[in-house]
Symmetry: D2
Subunit: 142 residues, 4 copies
């Protein structure tokens, strides 16, 4: 990702990411940033589990949401933030892997609304979850 | 909730809840348990925020998911667990309140599939989010 | 519904409804109009069925979508149309009844986005389906 | 599609399709069948429109649902039917084209639950809508 660090898109996404304290709590990391596509990863930790010892669905959903939101952000003009209007996720397989990756991609970039999808996979590239959501551009943040 | 503590439904839900380490990480608490309906709360903390300093959508969604899952669990026979197949949440208002409550309710209890809805409100009873999800009964856990 | 016929809300909704040729094809009818809430009905016909002889899910979904869209329309200024951005429906019970009713209600009225829910019931008031969707105000139509 | 007509999968899907009178009412046609993937098309007709003269969202959603359901059916043993448990569709662009195609694909084939996605495009291959849904295998139909 070093290559991207001078890019304004890289800066905007990583700044927005770092401001989200919840992402630091769960240990989420940016894996990749390009226009319209962002990947976020998270490692299994003892504090992130559900009742059967698997990565919690809430963690999976957060990763998918953030990957999608960051992807949407890359299509926005400066000083415009995006908020999730709605998301729908299908949790398809239990997350037994030590690391999961959520790849968010813009499938329709509008001025006000951005539609994104995110796929969460484990390290064997098995699909754990698939999300489609609607993001809303919130005008100037300053 | 004292009244319920001797009830087997109370025990099953609180056991399942306590096993979920992620819920302890975010500080979620059970507020109410009855057959078909469970309420979960969470207080705003500096570690749970998004980029604008509001409670993260991932936290809101986790609360809604868990409230719905626990409500589904109350309709299941002993030793049967429920897993979220899919959830869809509309995030309607920013969570600026210090405390939010997610109330999950079963709207269709089947043997294999349970449909639940959850409403997340702030302390002024304003609706922050609304979720409908499908839970799947996973047979014996032992 | 006679009482409402002089009301501009009544007129706007019924005009929008009548312009939708697909609703006349399936035989949908307006049952009730008030600010923020619209009910639409449809009777079982031989042309509206799925492979098991039940009312087709596409018909149920159309009714829910239209009930929600019309409810959203009642909260809009004149000359503003609404379009469905996304909808999610849980089909909970087979529609074996001769008549179904979809009641759409606004749960969050914004300037640009309106969140609605719709419940589809049969004549015994059993819930067949539940939908939550996002509607988008499309500015002037003229 | 002639090549497929002797295949039992082809027969099962086309039989299920033909039994759905609603599909004949809207003029839907099977365009392609293979294991895990089915395409359905529909032409714009004066009877299928919404208030602005575009193809109705209910028609688009029906096509997506049926394409997904038929795709799910191709992964099922004989005599097992599938029903839609829930579907979520994002309607991204108005359908101004004379013909639309919905391609449904299985993304997770389970014994009881099948997760499918469908993409609806116009004749210029622009994406009009994207759906993810959960199908439920209903055991023997006889």
């Amino acid at each position: 990702m070093d290559l991207y660090q001078a890019d304004p898109i890289y800066e905007r996404v990583s700044k927005s990411f770092e401001k989200q304290s919840f992402l630091s709590l769960i240990g989420a990391k940016i894996e990749h940033i390009e226009k319209g596509k962002v990947a976020i990863s998270c490692e299994r930790k003892d504090t992130l589990l559900q009742q059967q010892g698997l990565l919690h669905g809430g963690v999976i959903t957060t990763l998918a949401d953030v990957a999608g939101g960051c992807a949407a952000l890359t299509t926005m003009p400066e000083n415009v933030e995006v908020l999730t209007v709605e998301l729908k996720i299908n949790l398809m397989r239990p997350a037994i892997s030590n690391k999961v990756i959520a790849v968010g991609e813009v499938i329709k970039a509008g001025k006000t609304l951005v539609i994104v999808e995110a796929t969460v996979t484990d390290k064997d590239n098995k699909i754990l979850a698939k999300m489609i959501s609607t993001m809303f551009a919130t005008g100037e943040t300053v």
